[in-house]
């Protein structure tokens, strides 16, 4: 594969190098941008409407900007921001694939986005049909029986799942206290377990990067509520003993929770339900390509097997026998997990994405994601060897220990140097079980040419490590700002302009 001439890398982000003042620094008393409708409502003084002791005697001083400055400010800020649309983001675990603009356009339709969430069901039948249809399709994809669309992100899905687990056991008078989690798990898993009222028991990984089945079995007991697994796991490997794991957990009366952050890898190949999972969350913003928005919004629907259905959060959109759609609360619902119905516009985007792809397209998505990851792993094996050297799924965890030992160049340095090369960094130092981990997830939407360009960039960095390791500790220099002093930010918190100007 070549980076040229059969095509060129699609990554060379182009970002602003001038610092931008804050909007508060640009503010000038007396300026304004807002324009409001003429209403002809009598302009009665507020003192006449609201008792004085509720009124703020002074203004809350926000900011005063002209529209022109507002536009200039945020446009320039956008030029200081990397994004998928500018270049490749091989961030393992995050699935930063290309998000079709079509799905954004669907969500921008006022027929969807001007609907108030509290209106009677008969006034929003289109929305209810959309939710029911999405639920059905997510169940078909995961092999589950029913789902809630309320959780606003993966972590919210996890906690919802754990509360479902709790409700299930409680309903049987079964008091359980522990949830098992592999040591490779994402941090949200243990954090959710705590919030779900359980204790974490950590299961070590074996030398193959998989759950140590013996250790798992040893940890099992009647006090185990269940296990949370990511499969493929966070080192990008498929838990091949999943059937045994499922049996073992089920044998002690525990439930299996599937952390769907890596669902992108297995679409159409294998379904969590078929592997024996009881509860599954999906990160729609990963697998179903809803844009990440700089850190959100996402959506984290949770699908469950038959026996857990009655506990799902409610109200749920349902098709009545009349064909009309209505809200129903499952009989033993754990209650709401969101103020309304979840991140509805994200759900709409995901449905559009699923419909465009269909079953065949989604299967191809996973195939190409896995192909890209394995190709990259293999392509880089001399430069950054894989932590576990065999077939991976949609992502691969490589390690920079050789660079560290030989030249004192750490994984972080490699990650920062990649920024200079026009690529976003991979995920660094996760999962925690791999030393100097660099976790690459190329995703299926990046071309072989871009992958080759990435590989060559990594090779150049390795060469630099050999020639001039010091320069890597100073990287990046060509980015909008150079390496940032993270320690200083934490040492003395300045989280607002007011704190900054008091400094």
């Amino acid at each position: 594969m070549t980076a040229a001439p059969g095509g060129r890398a699609a990554s060379a982000p182009l970002l602003g190098h001038e610092t931008e003042p804050t909007m508060f620094e640009m503010s000038v008393p007396g300026r304004s941008s807002y324009q409001l409708r003429t209403t002809d409502v009598p302009a009665v003084s507020l003192d006449a409407l609201i008792p004085l002791d509720h009124l703020n005697s002074s203004d809350v001083d926000l900011v005063e900007l002209s529209e022109r400055d507002l536009v200039g400010h945020f446009t320039r800020l956008s030029h200081r921001q990397f994004s998928v649309d500018l270049g490749m983001y091989p961030l393992g675990s995050c699935t930063m694939k290309y998000n079709p603009k079509f799905c954004d356009a669907v969500a921008a339709d006022p027929g969807l986005n001007s609907v108030h969430p509290g209106v009677p069901a008969e006034l929003c039948q289109g929305w209810l049909e959309l939710l029911v249809t999405l639920e059905e399709k997510l169940c078909a994809i995961t092999g589950m029986s029913a789902a809630t669309l309320q959780p606003a992100a993966g972590a919210a899905g996890e906690l919802t799942g754990l509360l479902l687990m709790r409700a299930f056991h409680s309903s049987r008078g079964d008091v359980r206290t522990r949830v098992l989690i592999p040591d490779s798990a994402h941090g949200t898993n243990p954090a959710s377990v705590t919030l779900g009222g359980y204790e974490v028991t950590t299961i070590p990984s074996n030398e193959r990067g998989l759950v140590d089945l013996a250790a798992l079995k040893a940890a099992l007991g009647p006090d185990v509520a269940g296990i949370m697994l990511t499969n493929p796991n966070t080192v990008g490997l498929f838990e091949e003993e999943i059937v045994d794991i499922a049996h073992a957990v089920h044998d002690v009366g525990g439930l299996l929770y599937y952390d769907g952050a890596n669902l992108n890898a297995i679409l159409g190949a294998v379904r969590p339900g078929d592997m024996g999972f009881d509860i599954v969350h999906m990160n729609l913003h990963k697998t179903f390509a809803t844009p990440h928005g700089g850190g959100g919004p996402g959506a984290g629907p949770v699908a469950v097997s038959k026996r857990l259905e009655e506990f799902l959060p409610g109200p749920k959109a349902t098709r009545a026998s009349s064909g009309a759609y209505e809200w129903r609360r499952p009989p033993r619902s754990i209650g709401r997990v969101h103020g309304w119905h979840g991140n509805a516009m994200v759900l709409a985007r995901a449905l559009a994405y699923i419909d465009v792809h269909g079953g065949d397209g989604l299967t191809r998505v996973a195939q190409h994601a896995v192909l890209n990851a394995n190709w990259l792993r293999r392509r880089l094996e001399k430069t950054l060897p894989a932590a576990y050297d065999r077939m991976c799924m949609h992502e691969c965890v490589l390690t920079a220990t050789n660079l560290k030992n030989s030249f004192g160049v750490r994984g972080l340095d490699v990650a920062k140097a990649l920024l200079e090369e026009g690529f976003h960094s991979p995920t660094v130092y996760f999962p925690l079980i791999v030393e100097e981990a660099l976790m690459f997830e190329p995703t299926e939407t990046e071309s072989p040419q871009t992958l080759e360009a990435l590989a060559q960039a990594v090779e150049r960095i390795a060469q630099r490590a050999h020639d001039d390791p010091e320069s890597l500790h100073r990287a990046p220099q060509t980015t909008p700002v150079s390496r940032v002093d993270e320690a200083r930010a934490a040492r003395h918190l300045i989280s607002t302009e007011d704190a900054s100007s008091r400094r």
Binding site: V119, W127, V243, G295, D355, L419
Partner: protein
Amino acid sequence: MADYLPHTSDEVDAMLSFLGLSSLEQLFDHIPAAVRLSQGLELAPGMSEPDVADYFNRLTRANRAQASALTCFAGAGAYDHEVPAVVKMLGSRSEFVTAYTPYQPEVAQGVLQAIFEYQTLISRLSGLPIANASLYDGATALVEALNMAAGATQRSKMVVSTGVHPHWRDVLRTFAAGTGYDIIEVPLRDGLTDWDSVDATGAAAIVASYPNYLGVLEDIGVAKRLSVANDALLVLGADPIAAGVLKTAGQWGADVFVGEGQPFGTPLAFGGPYLGLFACSDEQVRRLPGRIVGETVDSNDRRAFVTTLRAREQDIRRERATSNVCTNQTLMAVTAAIQLGWLGTQGLREVATRSAQGAHYLFEHACQIEGVTPVSSQPFFREFALRVPHRAGEVLRAMCEDGVLGGLSVAELTNGSDGSLEDPSHVVLVAVTERRTREQIDHYVDVLRKVVR
């Protein structure tokens, strides 16, 4: 025709052969055959974008409650405020939309600085020094506030006004099953929380709403005194638009402010994505849920921004993290910063003032209708509850025929009854924003008069 995969079949072949494979399926050979999907997904085949668009058009036509068809007087945390073209345009710039969490600050100053500005704005609005970089929505922000209070006090008793939005209380109850909180709901009397009716001893938090979900402006000083007397945190859920004219959470002495940020530039959007606002006092910063952006410098000593105090977060602290939040609502926070930049000091005051004026104008005229009476005699801001002579649902449905979304049914909102109000079945909750004209309000009154006749 295309999906979004760039690979040509020649390229796939070349890549496979580099791996020593001959088919894409072989990539999955190490998955146990017992669980492999043999016949593909049970989903329709892919459709082209225009075909899917046709399907969605059919769906949207079935949403009668679109803005183009009904004039919105519904609220309960989701309000029909003006979102100008300039805010939509800036908020949808693809650098913001398609960015990831700013893990690499050197290439994420755009999002980081926008969040820093957002934090500043929310801090000023709430009158509290620390704001985080957003939570999912108002309801889940309240859950995080209780977790903060539990952490701060090492207690688990939560004294919650039933003036708090019924959905939020529902969410609290759900999550309390995990955290084991003892939630004590304090009833309302004539629209005001009857704080005296409960024993708050040993409470971690006193939770009030300003205005409360029926629109009533309660004297938060009472709740404050209760919290002080019991060494509990005062958690105040407030309408963020109210900060344009009413006392801020900080001024009322709240330790934690939470709010639903939807009114700041986010469309009604059938309830999401919205934006959980969260601010607190300096003392609580180490217990802050979610992300926070701080100021620092780069290696050339230029001002720079970075996510900070990461040691609280799940990816580092794991089971001892202050919260499990990871992905949050950054894009909505960026949009809120843009919208607040557009509104500015005066604009927020205007929006708040006009909303209040419209609400009071409507209230006054609606209450003159025979059979329509206020639920409470207390002051309100821009939302209020009316008792109507027929079932609220029926009244609202009838009003739709004349193009008016007359409000929300409190019975539906409270799922029958949740103790916050006696006989909610005949109560309509009405909200007015700065977008409602006198003509629209007069029409509302005419239609309501006709419908209740």
